[in-house]
């Protein structure tokens, strides 16, 4: 018995409700003509009554269960363990859960821990059975109620449509809840981080080395969380990427919309679409395996010392990744410039390039700026290329031949393979995530505003 089977059972009950309701409606009326709504609406009516209350109970239970079980397990622990600090208790509870799942734990498993783990498992299984009984009983009761209400005069269609509309509204608000979830989870963990490390040290500190001491007397691993080198590295790589993507993307958009014959466009557009569809991990592999070593060799032959994980390699490949993004967005805004403006310019005797430079680009400028801002936001948030091709050490440098690290690289290295969520080290990842989210959010909002405003101007 697990949650998935229970869910399937509820869905099956609901489907059964549909057939019960439909046949009931045909039986209570002589023929379908006497019914207020089509028979299938009576079926839907019964199905909704059978399914929705049961699913509500199901969802509520899974929202509450973790806390309930936690309270029960902790209250059954020996009193010396209950008296622990809240964060130590959290760790202990994590261990109990890992023990119950059969995984490795950080402390020794004594008898009381094993007992707690068994208790945990027993509680969860009892809870699930109780939930199953309750949910299915509610579903059956709802079905019986709906069945008793079915009569030719019952206005089944309006009721069903009302419920469906509410469901549609709920789905559309999901996006808002996702955003709220992102913001809350990032802020919540970041606050815990800023309790350990001051926010000024984080935002303005010049030294980043996120190790925390395992023992209090350990030397040289006190941990430093000054994120400026990380931000600087992100900025450097983003700049290199934009130096590639902005001119190439923009020029290819101009060429495609102003010069290219339909045949050329028919070939080049899919190529750019394919380039846009290549996963970033592939670009990362390409950067790390081919571009990085190539740039290193090239630098050596010119007498430069180039790190094999140089910012240049990651930035160049990221630029290539963003080209189609810039070009398709600029293509849209260039195409939105009215043809009359072009015709006016040609009538004055301007050449095509003069029209582009003096008329189209100025007219499309807000849109182009918006597109570039979106591209910057994309570059800042890009993860796999830099994880695979950029460095880990936080160097505060503007030299593109050296290895730098970025916000996303640090998030990945701080969190992958670490299951303990109370050290400053892992919490720092959430603080970096919050910064990343805020910066990209501002860029996106500004860019979308600019693009939208511009679009309205010519429509």
């Amino acid at each position: 018995m697990n949650a998935l089977t229970l869910f399937t059972a509820i869905v099956l009950l609901s489907v059964a409700g549909f057939y019960v309701g439909r046949s009931r409606s045909l039986r209570v009326s002589g023929s379908a003509k006497e019914l207020h709504s089509l028979p299938s609406y009576y079926g839907m009516y019964a199905a909704l009554w059978a399914g929705i209350p049961a699913i509500v109970i199901f969802v509520l239970w899974f929202a509450m269960e973790p806390f309930l079980v936690r309270e029960l397990v902790i209250s059954a622990l020996p009193s010396d363990k209950q008296a622990l600090q809240p964060d130590r208790l959290g760790l202990l509870y994590n261990d109990i859960r890992n023990l119950a799942a059969g995984g490795a734990i950080s402390t020794n498993a004594d008898a009381s821990m094993r007992g707690a783990a068994d208790h945990y498992l027993a509680l969860r299984s009892t809870g699930l059975w109780a939930l199953a009984a309750l949910a299915l009983a509610t579903g059956a009761a709802g079905l019986a109620f709906a069945r008793s209400r079915i009569a030719p005069a019952l206005r089944a269609r309006p009721s069903v449509e009302r419920v469906i509309k509410v469901l549609l509204i709920l789905c559309s608000t999901l996006a808002v809840f996702v955003t709220i979830g992102i913001v809350l989870s990032l802020i919540f963990e970041s606050i815990r981080f800023f309790e350990k490390v001051s926010i000024f040290e984080f935002l303005f500190g010049l030294h980043w080395s996120p190790q925390t001491a395992l023992r209090a007397d350990q030397v040289g691993s006190s941990g430093a969380f000054g994120a400026v080198p990380v931000f600087a590295g992100t900025l450097l790589i983003t700049m290199i990427a934009m130096l590639v993507a902005a001119p190439v993307g923009l020029m290819s958009a101009i060429y495609m919309s102003e010069y290219a014959t339909p045949r050329v466009r028919g070939f080049a557009k899919p190529v750019l679409e394919i380039l846009a569809g290549i996963p970033t991990v592939v670009f990362g592999f390409f950067a790390a395996l081919i571009v990085g070593p190539y740039i290193r060799r090239l630098g050596e032959s010119l007498g430069l010392s180039v790190a094999s994980e140089s910012a240049l390699a990651a930035g160049l490949v990221m630029g290539v990744m963003i080209i189609p993004f810039v070009s398709s967005l600029s293509d849209d805004v260039i195409n939105a410039v009215p043809q009359t403006m072009r015709d006016g310019s040609y009538a004055m005797g301007a050449t095509k390039s003069e029209t582009v430079k003096k008329v189209i680009v100025p007219a499309a400028l807000p849109g182009i700026v918006g597109a570039l801002l979106l591209a910057v936001s994309r570059a800042i948030g890009e993860t796999m290329i830099v994880v695979m091709a950029a460095g880990l050490a936080a160097n505060l440098t503007a030299n593109p031949f050296e290895a730098v690290t970025t916000v996303t690289v640090q998030i990945v290295t701080l969190l992958v393979g670490d299951q303990e969520f109370d050290s400053a080290k892992t919490l720092a990842a959430f603080a970096l995530g919050l910064v990343l989210f805020c910066v990209t959010l501002v860029l996106n909002v500004v860019a979308l505003r600019v693009v939208q405003k511009y679009r309205e101007e010519y429509e």
Partner: protein, 434 residues
């Protein structure tokens, strides 16, 4: 006189005009060349990218095997003749492989030589023997001809990735091993065939045994969950926003929200999944279920935006005709608008799913980055995904893993191309101009 002056002025301005015109036309050509160069650069980047990976990866589709005569000695496998499975499982099959090699090369006696010659064969050879014996215990005591996988070093040599002309100390294979291998080859015992193991087996520390089977299954499960969640939720949200929502602050907020979510970095979705699904709700780590849910949240805005655009393109006359025949607003949408918009919705969803398939960063956050040997049987089992497997292998130092990584990348690209191709096909086939 004055006439002459004027004409010389005119001649001068004519010359200046011609010069200017030539300059303008040169500028025009230059500008056009820049544009063409930009497009060619993008195309060249794509060609180099795919070409470089294909050149490195295609050879992973082949594998080297050694045909050995191995006698399955009863004394080694099952000395007490119990026939119990656990005895058969624990037997020292490596020594059988070694004995067979020593029969081929009688001069191999010393301990170090024996160890060296065993390096020619993959550790997978012992597994193959074990499976053979378990499948048919009656073979014990007989001599069987088996094709066993060669070690990754030999495989690299056969494929020409390891060179013989470097000094012995810089090579992974010693001169002795090379000589043994050459004699094997001379006897015709070395063969190359299609590497089906690459597609069916899980990850392994031995490159010649590693495959993408487990990560393919993980990707499939995650993608299934993503589809089941993001498609219905996204279409439902789009129906409300496009057909029913009043124009007010709340719906404006939702709209801004969706547009922003589409541009939030994917790694932030990973942080959300880590904080909410794993730490808060206690879902299992590394499970495709959680991966699928995170990817679904990421794909949702794409589906909503595509579905809205598709419904917008259905002309109002369809809706009016349906209303005129007495359909309720919901019936109008479900019976008429939605079916007509479906090709567009499907196209957008497939493109969103393709992006989800290639996504790596959020999966790293929720622990789908693990050494997975067994092929996951359900969405709750620990698993990786195909792009994560690429990331993991790209970190491995062995030369043989470069080939595997490139090949896994090629498989990923083939899937993506197929999905995008399907989307384009749907668009072409069902697109309607009203």
């Amino acid at each position: 006189m004055s006439h002459l002056v004027v004409s010389s002025d005119q001649a001068q301005s004519d010359a200046a005009y011609r010069k200017r015109l030539a300059a303008r036309q040169r500028a025009e050509t230059r500008f056009k060349a820049y544009g063409m160069a930009a497009i060619l650069l993008a195309i060249a980047a794509l060609v180099v990218l795919i070409g470089a990976i294909a050149v490195r990866g295609y050879s992973a589709l082949l594998t080297t095997e050694l045909a050995l005569e191995i006698s399955l000695e009863r004394d080694v496998i099952d000395p007490d003749n119990t026939g119990k499975t656990e005895d058969l499982l624990q037997a020292d099959y490596n020594s059988l492989v070694l004995a067979s090699l020593m029969k081929l090369f009688p001069e191999v006696r010393s301990r170090s030589d024996r160890r060296a010659i065993l390096k020619i064969v993959s550790p997978g050879a012992a597994d193959a023997l074990r499976n053979l014996v378990l499948a048919d215990p009656s073979k014990i005591g007989k001599t069987v001809a088996v094709a066993v996988p060669a070690s990754d070093d030999i495989d690299m040599l056969v494929k020409g990735h390891t060179r013989r002309d470097v000094p012995e100390s810089d090579r992974r294979l010693s001169d002795k091993q090379l000589a043994w291998f050459d004699r094997l080859q001379a006897k015709g015992l070395v063969s190359t065939r299609f590497n089906s193991r690459f597609f069916t087996s899980g990850d392994s520390r031995e490159p010649e045994l590693a495959g993408i089977g487990a990560s393919l299954a993980g990707s499939a499960f995650a993608l299934l969950i993503t589809l089941l969640l993001s498609f219905p939720l996204g279409v439902a949200a789009a129906i409300y926003l496009q057909e029913f929502a009043p124009k007010n602050r709340w719906t404006d907020l939702i709209e801004v929200n969706i547009n922003n979510l589409a541009a939030v970095p994917s790694i932030v979705f990973g942080l959300l999944g880590l904080a909410v699904f794993l730490n808060f709700f206690g879902f299992p780590r590394s499970a495709p279920l959680v991966g699928g849910m995170v990817l679904a949240l990421m794909t949702l805005p794409t589906v909503i935006i595509a579905a809205r655009a598709a419904m917008l393109s259905v002309p109002p006359s369809i809706r009016e005709a349906a209303v005129g025949l007495g359909a309720s607003p919901l019936q109008v949408v479900i019976h008429h608008v939605l079916p007509l918009a479906m090709p567009g919705i499907l196209t957008g969803s497939i493109i969103g799913m393709a992006r989800a398939l290639g996504e790596t960063a959020p999966l790293l956050m929720i622990g789908m980055v693990a050494f997975v040997v067994d092929i996951p049987a359900s969405p709750m089992d620990p698993a990786t995904a195909l792009p994560v497997q690429v990331y993991l292998w790209a970190d491995s130092p062995e030369r043989a893993f470069v080939e595997k990584t490139a090949a896994a990348t090629l498989v990923l690209l083939v899937f993506l191309l197929a999905m995008n191709g399907l989307a384009i096909f749907l668009r072409k086939k069902f697109e309607r101009r009203w």
